[in-house]
């Protein structure tokens, strides 16, 4: 069966594939505080895997356990089938790129990059050659004799990357790699990272708090909160099919509605909401009991805003008044007041130009919001 | 194997200084304590041993607390201890009054000026302490520079008695210890966020108010550190009361030295030392505590 389907880009779907990194029931306690709470994770070779979460969620602790700087309080970590529990960082086939880059200030670029190879006892001629190649790959050849304090932020990062990759590690860990860069550099570096990863085929594990970064870079994301994984999936899965309100709110924006399941059919579900008063018709069945309380997540870009009333009032549409407009040039964000105090957010591309200085939809205008039956996501937690 | 080696290596790093301090810093105190509980005899060493092995291997422990009782009874010692505390406290305050504005001025000055000023403050520290005290002998003597100047100008006819008075001791202590006040204050002030002062002004506080409600509390750790760094050693000062105070100014350091050298009463000298230690143990623990907190904060 698996030969017929190409799992090349998505090895996690292949039932025969062996995960490259296995985290098994790993926990980490610091005194009374539990930083990582019995997590399980499987990362496959060649993935660009992101650990995404806010500060204090445990992602950095997990990364440090992969690197060997922290020992799990319980559970085990296997890299390429080998248990890493008693293996110190200097004996792991893993390298890390630190958030601060951690370039050795008393060594120049060349010596920094060569450091790992020297520790491995590689012959000098080979070191020289590999350093040459690596510096060329990160485009730092003309800076080889400079010391870290003579480099710009972006250059420092490339040295850190070169230094880690030159050892051809099985896995590269990156701790907030883009956090210290300005916006312009960040976007550029994102693509550079993806290219290098693709070219070398190294498995990357990235820790970040920036969802845009995670969405752009990753093959898969693990959303982390209070030491646990909330959801693991591809960026699309996480965004379009969040498993909980927490994940839905963490990635992008979501309008949240509370309601009750009034009808649960084989091919449809109807959820009734009180605030605002509205019915949601979802066009697929769910394993859910009638009468149970659920939440509906509706993304701002999935809602149509119009001054004309929709064909069928009542289901999958609602009426309101524009209370705020955020004009962003290419898109506009509308905050629409429903009823007394409920605000719904809509993002819409500005397809039409303003006429006589008036935007197509203006403040305080009555508008109709509507969405497709497939747009809403039903959440049980 | 790697872990075992790593652990052993660490133990070695720690062991060397630890052992040294145990032997040459901590053990001596117990010896002083032991001797303070002995009797003075004409012998070498001039005190009775604590543990004596008598016939049939019976251990005879002699502990004598007479020395401490003696300290307690004799007026001289109590007066001296109190005097030492008084002198060191007042000197600490004087150091603060001089040192605080100087530290403040240094912190607020431009980058180059800051370094020059710091160097100027530290430079005297590198020259001989003894000679700097000696310099004041020359200034304060009856035929010294200050008296000569005042007589020459005509302000006074007879030289003012300054040397070998408490006044001279105060000057000597303040002179020697002011850099010890300035440096911790500077270190503390350097790390502060001066924007807070501007924020206070922005909220309507007058300079005096800002000083008492914002600056002073913020610099309090530096004040405490500097004060302890002056107060504790100054209490046990020997050279300054000896050279500048003559026999007239009672400070405990001199008494200890005399008991030891002149009177060859080691037990009493030891008791004096233990008593001094007990007197200072609280400020010393306070200093340790502050230092520990600071390292944690960093």
């Amino acid at each position: 069966m698996s030969q017929l389907v190409d799992y090349n880009d998505r090895p996690w779907l292949d039932p025969d594939a062996e995960p490259f990194i296995k985290v098994q029931s790993v926990s980490k306690h610091f005194g009374d505080f539990t930083a990582v709470d019995s997590v399980d994770l499987e990362i496959y070779k060649g993935e660009l895997f992101c650990l995404l979460g806010g500060s204090g969620c445990g992602k950095t602790t997990l990364l440090r356990m992969l690197a060997g700087f922290e020992t799990p309080s319980s559970g085990s970590i296997l890299i390429d089938g080998v248990n890493m529990n008693d293996v110190p960082p200097y004996e792991r086939p893993v390298n890390m790129m630190f958030q601060s880059y951690a370039l050795f200030p008393h060594m120049n670029v060349e010596t920094n990059v060569a450091y790992g190879l020297k520790r491995d006892g590689v012959a000098k001629s080979e070191i020289d050659q590999r350093v040459e190649e690596m510096l060329a790959m990160v485009e730092l050849t003309q800076f080889r004799k400079r010391k870290p304090h003579q480099l710009s932020g972006g250059q420092k990062q490339r040295v850190a990357l070169a230094r880690a990759l030159i050892k051809q590690p099985k896995m590269l860990l990156l701790d907030e790699p883009l956090a210290a860069l300005d916006k312009r550099l960040r976007v550029q570096t994102q693509y550079e990272l993806m290219n290098i990863q693709d070219k070398l085929g190294v498995t990357f594990v990235v820790v970040t708090h920036d969802q845009e970064e995670a969405m752009t870079l990753s093959t898969r994301i693990a959303v982390m909160d209070v030491g646990r994984f909330q959801q693991i999936g591809t960026p699309t899965e996480i965004y379009e099919f969040p498993s909980s309100r927490l994940v839905a709110n963490f990635i992008g924006n979501a309008n949240m509605f509370e309601g009750r399941v009034t009808e649960n059919g084989t091919d449809h579900v109807i959820v009734a909401c009180k605030d605002p008063t509205c019915d949601f018709y979802i066009d697929h069945g769910l394993s859910i009991t009638e009468g149970s309380k659920v939440w509906i997540a509706l993304r701002p870009e999935k809602i149509k805003i119009s001054k004309q009333a929709p064909g069928e009032p009542g289901t999958n549409n609602i009426k309101g008044m524009v209370s705020d407009i955020g004009y962003l040039g290419g898109t506009s964000t509308y905050r629409v007041l429903i009823g007394e105090d409920r605000i719904v957010e809509i993002t819409s591309p500005n397809l039409n130009r303003p006429v006589d200085g008036n935007p197509p939809i203006d403040w305080d205008e009555e508008v109709h919001l509507s969405w497709e039956p497939s747009s809403a996501v039903v959440l049980t937690k | 194997m790697g872990h075992l080696l790593q652990r052993n290596w660490r133990t070695l790093v720690l062991f060397i200084p630890f052992f040294w301090l145990l032997l040459f810093f901590l053990a001596p105190f117990f010896i002083v304590l032991k001797i303070s509980l002995a009797e003075s005899v004409i012998a070498s060493p001039p005190f009775t041993p604590m543990i004596e092995w008598v016939d049939e291997g019976i251990m005879n422990i002699r502990v004598v607390i007479d020395n401490f009782a003696y300290l307690w009874e004799d007026d001289l010692y109590a007066k001296t201890y109190l005097n030492s505390l008084k002198i060191s406290s007042i000197s600490t305050i004087l150091c603060l009054l001089i040192g605080y504005p100087m530290a403040y001025a240094i912190v607020r000055s431009s980058h180059t000026t800051k370094h020059i000023l710091l160097m100027l403050v530290i430079l005297p520290f590198w020259t001989s302490f003894l000679l700097r005290v000696y310099a004041w002998m020359g200034l304060l003597a009856d035929q010294g520079t200050i008296n000569n100047l005042l007589i020459a100008i005509g302000i006074i006819d007879e030289p003012i008695r300054m040397l070998y008075t408490p006044f001279a001791v105060y000057i000597g202590i303040v002179y020697t210890y002011v850099p010890f006040m300035i440096l911790p204050l500077y270190a503390n002030m350097e790390k502060l966020d001066w924007i807070l002062l501007e924020a206070a002004a922005d909220l309507g506080a007058k300079p005096m108010t800002t000083f008492f409600t914002v600056t002073l509390p913020m610099t309090l750790p530096g004040i405490v550190a500097g004060s302890l760094l002056v107060f504790i050693p100054a209490t046990g000062e020997f050279v300054i009361p000896d050279l500048l105070g003559g026999g007239n100014v009672l400070m405990i350091g001199r008494i200890l030295y005399n008991e030891f050298n002149a009177n060859i009463d080691w037990p009493v000298a030891s008791a004096v030392a233990i008593a001094l230690l007990l007197l200072l143990v609280l400020p010393m623990m306070l200093y340790q505590h502050i230092q520990a907190k600071q390292t944690e904060a960093e």
């Binding site: 450091y115 | 001596p28 005297p124 310099a135 010294g144 300079p207 504790i232 350091g253 030891s270 030392a273």
Partner: protein, 279 residues
Amino acid sequence: MNNGKQSRFLFTMTCFGLAFLYVPMILLVFYSFNKSRIVPVWGGFSTKWYGVLFESKEVGEAIVLSLKVATVNATFAMILGTLAGLALVRFGRFKGRTLFTGMISAPLVMPEVITGLSLLLLFITLNEFIGWPSSRGFTTITIAHITFSMAYVAVIIQSRLTGMAQDLEEAAQDLGAKPFRVLVDITLPLLAPGMLAGWLLAFTLSLDDLIIASFVSGPGAVTLPMLIYSRIRLGLRPDINALATIIILVVAIGVLVAAWIMFRQQKQRELELKMSEET
């Protein structure tokens, strides 16, 4: 407006403070050239007291002893203090940590009479039990000095280590360096300026120490401070002024040289920084 008043106050206080610190030293130098034997009474210019100073054999021996003690002390104190500082900052919790912390910081504030007395009594007791040290002098003074100097070095090292982010050492480990290698490749080279500062500080403290040396020394071993003290407690002496002038001169030159070197280094750094910005 009020800032102006504040600035003037600060300026005055600083000038007064600096004058307070330096005038006595300047006068010391001034009177070393006084022909009259009564130091503060000027009797004309003369350099004869320098001659008297150089003739004295005792002075030469005392200087040599002090320098020997100071050098040996500084070197050992630097090593021990660095080890102590490393242990306190990088080793986390270990058994006896509180005791160790107490022992390493107590010498900083301990009155010297207590340290001196306790060490002398230790040496005497040791001699009773194991026959060493049978005579006190260079060895005992040096041991005593190392004991308190290492505390100062430890403070400097601790301060530098806490300022040094731990991720440099972790990065080295990550790249394959075992802990000992990390120490040699990363920690010590970066600690070097602190170690040098520690050495200099220990050296100065040793040269300057009177009390502790007095207690733990023995017949025939006279350090420079001990010599100076024995002479000045009887009164003012112009040859001591001459000695003071020489010491002040040596220190001033040393400090100026150090400042000049640091200034040059700073300028070099700024140049390198500009170079990197231009590319």
